[in-house]
């Protein structure tokens, strides 16, 4: 076992784990005071649910293609290439943190109206079934992986973020918009209760991404600094372009969209962070920030009420970032269109994106609909008006 590599993967996993706090703060900042405890509780319980689901079934399905390693049984002690072998438990923890991220993406989009129990059941099914099946095909020993097919999704623009995004989209469709979002014949803004909390959350996610992407190398080698560099360049480019576009479009720099813009850049570079050049990363980020601004407006207009912008950040930019690898990849044998590789890599990227969409969106829609039939997904109108904190949780966020 290479101790340095193992330690790096564990530390990176811890950074990714801490992204749960980032999501908790971003999402609670973007909702109203009366729903804060409910949003925090969803973000709090989701890592417990993810750990249980991934340990019992998910990990086995994803990396062993079946049930041979359920409950983390019959696994190897080491994984990885020669000279970079790491403890499989470190690998398990790192992958678990990713599965947890895919699950926690959903909670913001469905915030302020979903039943707590419906969210719990969905999260369990997501990490036990949907995420590992797609993960098996794209990241595990399955037929669409980088090694067997050439689909590049280095750290999970598709596997983590677009999965979370598709599930969120399905959830929002089944739930419907919050009361008051579309009342009075217009689309209404529902301002979040704490911009400082959302800012802290965004910074934590930014920090966490330096584990998310560079950690996905699964070794502490010469690729790690480039991945960190690319991650940051795309992030800041997207934040700057989102700031500029919102400033021109809305006459003021819209701060909550500036924060979303940063996250959009981080999501978009996650697929290609290993394979693109820093200039490529910067350009991908610039486009991601613009896409974010128009995405938020677009989803608002078609009736997809997503309080935190998860569909624009994780779904749109997860898909977009994965596709961009087909243009910007500089890796030998997998070069993108802009580096003389023709359209071959673009086709491979579209295959992975399409496969994920075709599995995850319908499956999530069906699961959400079944949950709606059996448990109900939406709180009562009275409870939604009074707030989920009192109705669902029996406690409020801010007491005197």
């Amino acid at each position: 076992m290479n101790l340095l590599d193992t330690m790096w993967v564990l530390i990176a996993g811890l950074l990714v784990f801490f992204m749960n706090a980032g999501f908790a703060f971003v999402e609670s900042g973007f909702v109203r005071t009366k729903n804060v405890v409910n949003v925090l509780a969803k973000n709090f319980i989701v890592f417990a649910l993810s750990t249980f689901a991934f340990w019992t079934i998910g990990y086995s399905v994803m990396f062993y293609g079946g049930f041979s390693a359920i409950f983390y049984s019959a696994v190897n002690s080491l994984v990885g290439p020669e000279n970079h072998k790491i403890s499989e438990m470190a690998f398990f923890f790192f992958q678990l943190a990713f599965a947890g991220t895919a699950a926690t993406i959903v909670s913001g989009a469905v915030a302020e109206r979903i039943k707590f129990m419906a969210y719990i059941v969905f999260s369990l099914l997501l990490v036990a079934v949907i995420y590992p099946i797609v993960g098996y095909f794209l990241w595990g020993p399955g037929p669409l992986s980088r090694a067997s097919f050439g689909f590049i999704d280095f750290a999970g623009s598709t596997v983590v973020h677009s999965i979370g995004g598709w599930e969120a989209l399905a959830g929002v469709i089944v739930l419907g918009p919050r009361l008051g979002k579309y009342s009075g014949g217009k689309i209404n803004a529902i301002p979040g209760h704490s911009i400082p909390l959302a800012t802290l959350g965004t910074f934590i996610l930014w920090l966490g991404w330096f584990g998310f992407n560079p950690g996905s190398e699964l070794a502490f080698d010469e690729a790690v600094p480039l991945i960190a560099m690319n991650t940051n360049l795309a992030a800041i480019a997207a934040m700057l372009s989102a700031t500029a576009v919102s400033w021109v479009k809305f006459k003021k720099p819209d701060y909550s969209l500036m924060m979303n813009g940063l996250l959009a850049g981080l999501v978009a570079i996650t697929a290609g962070c290993y394979d693109v050049t820093p200039v490529g990363a910067f350009l991908i980020g610039l486009m991601a920030g613009v896409l974010l601004i128009f995405g938020v407006g677009f989803f608002d207009r078609i009736g997809i009420d997503d309080p935190v912008g998860a569909t624009s950040v994780h779904l749109l930019n997860g898909v977009f970032g994965t596709l961009m690898v087909g243009f910007f990849s500089a890796t030998d044998g997998m070069k993108g269109l802009f580096y003389g590789g023709g359209t071959a890599q673009i086709v491979k990227q579209l295959t992975g994106i399409g496969f994920t969409a075709l599995v995850v969106f319908p499956a999530s829609l069906i699961i959400w609909l079944i949950i709606r039939m059996i448990l109900g997904v939406r709180v009562s109108e009275k409870e939604e008006i009074e707030g989920l904190d009192v109705g669902e949780m029996g406690t409020e966020a801010y007491n005197s």
Partner: protein
């Protein structure tokens, strides 16, 4: 006795209280309030959408004084609270029938 109720911009409170205490006045209560006048609130931006802030945060000062001091206090408040812009606030004057000091049960002007 008169009660002066002044609705002012919150950032003017400190300067007004400071100037009033130089002039000498019996006592003062302030409350954080929300409201609008003829300007009907203002617009803010969240996630690319404008929305109305119908009620703007203001501070209401209440002072009960002898009739002789009313004009001085009004002048002081108006001088400091005025910026010339919409939203400077309003002052209302009402007659007070009686006052009671809780500790001594004193009544009338002596109680304020």
């Amino acid at each position: 006795m008169k009660k002066i109720e002044a609705i002012i911009r919150p950032d003017k409170l400190e300067a007004i209280v400071e100037r009033l205490s130089e002039l000498g006045y019996p006592g003062l209560t302030y409350t954080e309030v929300h409201g609008h006048g003829r300007q009907k609130g203002m617009k803010e931006l969240f996630r690319g959408r404008e929305y109305d802030i119908k009620f703007i945060p203001k501070v209401k000062i209440e002072i009960v004084v002898n009739d002789s001091k009313v004009e001085d206090i009004i002048d002081t408040i108006v001088n400091i609270a005025s910026t010339g812009q919409i939203g400077d606030g309003k002052i209302f004057i009402t007659k007070i029938e009686d006052a009671i000091r809780v500790r001594t049960k004193e009544r009338g002007e002596g109680a304020i």
